[in-house]
């Protein structure tokens, strides 16, 4: 089998490309749209906005989410903001600059055409969200307020206190609920997609499990859209919601969709450090805090004095020292790695020495406590609830944690994967952030894909493909259903001795050690040797109680962890094959003399897209070369 990695990027000048491309796309007649069904999996910023928009356009939409309501998708937890090239502050921003910052921030491993389009539609997103009633922060004159974020020297981030993701998601959710009320979208909550149905080379349906009754069901349509988020929970501990998982994307991979750059994972620099073995997830402290917080550790290793007792001269503000022009707002990958380095040198703070200070004393002195409270009040409260420390009085302690995954299913300019009719949007695809995502760009991408890109490109697909009607009686559908049922039965039949979580923790730790903030060939090979053993142990010894015909949370988790057990291997393979450092992928063998990431543009200026070839045979690595016609490849410097 071969896969086609034609990105279908339009030719010609970037600035006009998307306009022209949209004009060239075929349209579906308004009266005909209702005859076409689109299945959308996921109800976050990408899936929710796509479902609402396609419903408004007149398509017949089915939307699925594993939570009890579409309003709970994990986009809701995004704190800091959403970027847009509005240039309202008149500080020199433009579509071109947002495009440039995003490509550079991604360490030149993303596709120019996609990123440029993202920057272009960013301005429409803000208009749309404001019109929906999203209560963005305002200035006294009634205009929108902006703040700055990592990796940028302009203030282009729009925000709603520290709850921007919540407000944007509730905006998309309200639009979605309006379409549900109008009968254009049928919502299936507490439904988990367990497999993809491909008929004659086209994605035509999905298999779901009703998480209350356990019923296995099939759904069919003209196209399938995955807005199923990232795979950060493969590490067990991450800032993702507990339910976030790779299953939908991984099942699509096993049905023929290429998986791109799985090793590109983002470790966010500002999270609350791990407190103990009971830890079930990690909590992010928004990057926006770095606007006013200063990151430091003691200059001497083993200095256990209270932070207030360490005089100014004995503190190392290491980001300001190493990256004077961006300072505390250096991009995420760089900030995370720097924090790890100082902790590795024994200068970390807090229990276990895995932490650095994020100190607001100077900002409180300059602006007053009230201003800081207004900007970050809810984040400070959250910090205090979790740690029992008051960040107005003592510096926060933070440490990097897995946060976002830039890798994902490969898509072309239409956001379609290597299976015809399978569209992938938001974090679930790989397309826009290269090897490192800039802060406040995930919300932008999710909504860009769902509101402004997919609704055009999916119409073209539907308009140009004549699809025969299919139903559950189709042999291909029946085969997939049988496989899904068989897998559930096998998980329940193991009746071993170890809980699902214990396996998940072990896998997560293995990956964190060997495929986390710093990687090398030796560690990756260790992980690649251990993962298949662990997977075998899982299938031999996992203990899942109950039946498949009831609400069974252990069974849900077991299915997801079984997929992580396979996916983890793909991630490590990808990390091993990419013999360079770029963005969040830092190979210790490939670094400059001063410890910065050393890219190898000669050999690795490409997207690696993996093709599944069977459980017993290794996946095949395909390449989509990245061509930079508008941006000069350069060593990324924030110094």
């Amino acid at each position: 089998m071969s896969i086609d990695l034609n990105a279908k990027s339009p030719a010609g000048p970037l600035a006009q490309a998307w306009e022209q491309y949209k004009f060239d796309l075929k349209l579906v007649n308004p009266a005909n749209k209702r005859k076409h069904t689109v299945l959308i999996v996921g109800s976050g910023l990408a899936g929710g906005s796509a479902a609402a928009t396609l419903g408004e356009l007149g398509y017949n939409v089915h939307c699925f989410c594993y939570q009890d309501s579409p309003r709970r998708a994990h986009s809701i937890a995004a704190q800091g903001g959403i970027n847009a090239a509005k240039n309202y502050p008149n500080d020199g921003d433009s579509v071109w600059r947002l495009f440039y910052d995003t490509v550079k921030g991604g360490d030149f491993r993303s596709r120019e055409a996609n990123v440029y389009r993202l920057a272009q539609v960013s301005v429409n997103i803000i208009d749309q969200c404001v019109a929906q009633g999203v209560p963005f922060a305002r200035e006294y004159g009634g205009l929108l307020a902006n703040r700055s974020f990592g990796g940028a020297q302009v203030s282009r981030t729009f925000y709603a206190r520290g709850q921007t993701g919540q407000q944007l998601l509730l905006g998309a959710y309200s639009a979605l609920e309006r379409q549900i009320a109008a009968g254009k979208v049928t919502m299936h909550a507490r439904s988990e997609m367990l497999d993809l149905i491909v008929i004659d080379g086209q994605a035509r349906g999905i298999v779901t499990r009703d998480m209350v009754t356990g019923k296995i069901e099939t759904w069919f349509g003209d196209a399938v859209v995955l807005g199923t988020g990232g795979y950060g929970n493969v590490f067990y501990l991450s800032t993702n919601a507990k339910g976030c998982n790779v299953t939908a994307a991984y099942r699509a991979y096993k049905r023929g969709a290429a998986f791109a750059n799985p090793c590109f994972t983002q470790i966010h620099p500002t999270c609350i450090p791990v407190a103990g073995d009971h830890q079930s997830k990690l909590t992010l402290m928004s990057e926006s805090l770095r606007n006013d917080g200063r990151v430091w550790v003691p200059k001497k290793s083993g200095d256990h004095r209270a932070p207030g007792d360490i005089p100014e001269a004995e503190r190392d503000y290491f980001l300001e020292r190493k990256y004077p022009s961006f300072g505390n707002l250096a991009p995420r990958d760089i900030s995370s790695r720097s924090a790890k380095e100082v902790c590795d040198e024994g200068r970390g703070v807090g229990p276990g020495g895995r932490g650095v200070y994020l100190d607001f004393a100077e900002a409180i002195g300059r602006l007053g406590e009230d201003t800081i409270r207004e900007r970050y009040g809810n984040l400070f409260e959250m910090y205090e609830r979790i740690t029992d420390e008051n960040p107005y009085k003592v510096p926060m302690r933070i440490y990097p944690a897995v946060h976002y995954t830039m890798g994902g299913l490969w898509v072309d300019y239409n956001l379609m994967g290597t299976i015809a009719g399978l569209f992938v949007i938001g974090e679930a695809n790989f397309s826009d952030h290269g090897a490192n995502r800039l802060g406040a760009s995930a919300l932008m991408q999710g909504l860009a894909d769902g509101y402004f890109v997919l609704p055009y490109t999916i119409g073209n697909y539907i308009a140009t493909h004549k699809l025969a009607a299919v139903d559950a009686a189709h042999p291909a559908a029946r085969a997939v259903v049988d496989q899904v049922a068989d897998r559930i039965a096998r998980l329940l039949a193991v009746k071993g001795t170890r809980t699902v979580d214990s396996f998940h923790r072990e896998l997560g730790l293995l990956l964190w050690e060997n495929c986390g903030m710093a990687r090398n060939a030796e560690g990756l090979q260790t992980a690649l040797a251990r993962i298949p053993e662990l997977r075998a142990e899982f299938w031999r010894d996992v203990k899942v109680l109950g039946t498949g015909e009831e609400l069974n949370q252990s069974l849900e988790k077991a299915g997801r962890v079984a997929d992580y057990m396979e996916f983890a291997e793909l991630m490590c393979r990808d990390a091993l094959a990419r013999e360079e450092s770029c963005g969040g992928h830092f190979r210790t063998e490939y670094q400059t003399a001063d410890g910065e990431a050393k890219r190898d543009d000669e050999r690795f200026s490409h997207v690696a897209a993996w093709e599944y070839t069977g459980d017993e045979t290794p996946p095949v690595r395909h390449i989509e070369p990245l061509e930079f016609e508008n941006i000069q490849l350069a060593t990324r410097s924030y110094k």
């Binding site: 009890d68 309003r71 079930s280 252990s554």
Partner: protein
């Protein structure tokens, strides 16, 4: 510390439920309440007993998935805190903790501590939106919103839809939830054109779903993890009354003036 839990166990919506006693040993004060339940569940699975089912997802107090009655209080003893953000340092060694699902006729129990909150989605469907299709929007700066209005709207918009207000209310009313959305949009210029029909639609739907009425106990706002104010309810009542009066001439024959 060691704790004694009395947890509501119920196999499904049709089955009877009961409180079952569990011992939680070696609980760390740094654990969240849900992490404590995780540890109890790991122990149950090892013993071959069904783990306690509870809704949860983000575990940072924003998705609104989690929520249980803890010793009779929705989300437990700490003000402005969802169950996932409640830490065990709020309890002491030897404490007895009764853990139950939200109790309301409109929220049937699905299993153990999990209830069906889909009525809240249907209330939103009845008008909790601005009717604007994608691509219709004017430039964001053409809509000016006074800072104070944006802040007040945000105070109401913070609602996480967890249902604690319903669970805390002796009448199992969903007034605070509904009022939060009516207030959020009613305070903004974008929400004005549909203000009347929103209030009428959402209140009517709330009644249809079987939620009780509001008799100003104020338990809802005390339990609310986002501390949504009772003012929102006053605002909704006003909008509802105004809308009811304004709706009359239209029903008497639009166009006859």
């Amino acid at each position: 510390m060691n704790l004694t839990l009395h947890v509501w166990r119920q196999v499904d919506a049709g089955a009877p439920g009961r409180l079952v006693r569990y011992e939680a040993r070696d609980v760390s004060p740094d654990m969240s309440f849900l992490e404590m339940l995780d540890v109890v569940n790991e122990g149950l699975i090892e013993k071959g007993e069904d783990p306690i089912a509870f809704d949860h997802d983000c575990r940072e107090g924003i998705c609104g998935s989690c929520g249980v009655m803890i010793n009779g209080s929705a989300h437990g003893p700490m003000a402005g805190t969802a169950t996932c953000q409640l830490h065990m340092r709020s309890f002491k060694d030897g404490d007895k903790i009764v853990i139950e699902p939200w109790r309301a006729r409109a929220f049937p129990v699905l299993r153990d501590l999990i209830v069906d909150r889909s009525p809240l989605d249907r209330i939103i469907q009845a008008g909790g939106f601005v009717s604007i299709a994608t691509g219709n929007a004017p430039d964001a700066h053409t809509i000016l919103v006074p800072k104070q209005d944006a802040e007040s709207a945000m105070d109401a918009a913070q609602c996480i839809g967890c249902g604690a207000c319903v669970a805390a209310c002796p009448n199992a009313s969903a007034m605070l939830f509904t009022a939060a959305k009516v207030s959020h949009l009613g305070l903004l210029p974008q929400g004005q054109p549909e203000r009347d029909r929103r209030a009428l639609g959402m209140v009517t739907q709330m009644d249809l779903e079987g939620f009780g009425g509001c008799t100003n106990y104020g338990e809802c706002t005390t339990a609310c993890p986002k501390e949504i104010s009772l003012e929102t309810i006053a605002r909704m009542n006003r909008d509802f009354r105004v809308a009811t009066f304004r709706a009359r001439p239209e029903s008497a024959g639009a166009g006859s003036s």
